[in-house]
Amino acid sequence: MPAVEATTPTLRKTALHSTHRQMGAKMVDFNGWEMPVEYPSAGGIIAEHMAVRTAVGIFDVSHMGDIRLAGPDALAAVQHISMNDASRLAVNQAQYSALLYPQGTFVDDVIIHRLAEHDYLLVINAGTREKDFDWVQENTRQFDCGVENLSDDFTQIAIQGRKAARLLQKLTDADLSGLRFYWVTYGTLCGLRNILIARTGYTGEDGFEIYIPSDELVSARVWQEILEAGAEFGVVPCGLGSRNTLRLEARLPLYGHEISDTINVWEAGLDRFCRMDKPEFIGQSALALAQASGTKRTLAGLEMIERGIARDGYKVLDGVGRELGYVTSGSYAPFLKKNIALAYVAPEFSALGNILWVEIRGRGVQARVVTTPFYKRPRTV
């Protein structure tokens, strides 16, 4: 057993950092942030994962970044830097999208919220905060539109699971029953006025993400009030470990794994979030060429047949040991109780039911190509 890496004092912290520590969370370095990976008090990753799938769990996701684009040309600016069609957004609606390099690969994936007529909020990944902000600023200079980095202004808490709406409704006057998935509203929440509440998440469940001021005392109080209000629903605090297994079961991409600056939109299978028919955007012409020439690799879902867990970076092989691709994410899937993985392989090997081998510690372990998402929530909401 090698030693577990120690955390260094230079890591960035969210406003809930001391709350996590007090609750006994295990902290790790995640892209330069000291974040909870699991809460032993909640039972650890598997228990947290199951709580979100069957009841409700809460996550501190304040490390995510926020960029606001506001001004007369805000829509044109957003359209230029993102692949989805932001002109289809009504005020208070949100969409999954991505910022692309000219070659059609990923700067980052984002959720774009339309807050007002000429006012958009982009929620971005923690590890790409500075890169994203520079990129957005650099590529929107020609537009009459302000670009503001609000990343340090919010404590962002995700409340996820089929009981999330019942929990959150106890704490706010906003009507959550009327709020559809990927829409936002405002309300008084835990006594704080005009709080942005988005029905979004990264778990494959129904849920919400709330944006409160990043004041430490306020953040700690809201976190506690959510836990207290959720006690009757079995709420647990969750860390990044279960966030990862939840998003993997739901096949939601993670930057640096399924998407990166060397992977394009078609390879990642994010076609339905990329509108080639909208006005010009960065990456569009390269994607048109790539589309015409056909993709050389595609993201496949794998389920291990033999015992063994495919981990990020492991090679995918054919029956005679020839290398076909590599694993981008792999784990034991706590809800499905199977070992699953996502892997880039040549399209001819990605047919459903196809048998492949993952090289696990020098040995080929059999896996089958399966349909994704591995987990789909029952549509009762």
Binding site: M1, P2, V4, E38, G44, I45, Y332, P334
Partner: protein, 129 residues
């Protein structure tokens, strides 16, 4: 969690309990706590020769995979088959959930390993920095 004083320990967080020529091997409380939920334990077959300091198997949690290092050399005489279907027992009772038993090549090899007190001192230093 206390560390049994009749066990010896490695800096890679295995424990070994010697009883004459025979020794029982597992991983420590600190190891299981660092790993989190254990979902798979891969162990050698009976009859396998293992060598002190070399890997003899692996343990996988949801988060990560870790090699198991042999605290001493010998031939595997027994494997805890229960862990194949219930790997979480290592989390629940790390010092009771043994992994393998070996016939020691040289019982004196255990003398160079850490005592319970030395091991606790070692992990306290690991946690502190």
């Amino acid at each position: 969690m206390s560390y049994p004083t009749d066990f010896k320990y490695t800096k890679e967080h295995e424990w070994i309990k010697g009883d004459g020529k025979v020794a029982t091997i597992g991983i420590t409380h600190y190891a299981q706590d660092s790993l989190g939920d254990i979902v798979f334990v891969e162990l050698p077959k009976t009859g396998t020769q293992i060598t002190k300091g070399k890997t003899f198997g692996s343990v996988e949690s949801v988060k990560a995979v870790s090699d198991l290092y042999a605290p001493a050399s010998g031939v595997v005489t027994d494997v805890n088959a229960e862990l194949a279907n219930s790997p979480e027992k290592v989390n629940k009772d790390p010092h009771g959930s043994w992994m393998i038993k070996i016939n020691l090549q040289d019982p004196n090899e255990l003398n160079s390993l850490l005592s319970a007190a030395d091991y606790e001192k070692f992990i306290n230093e690991e946690t502190a920095h």
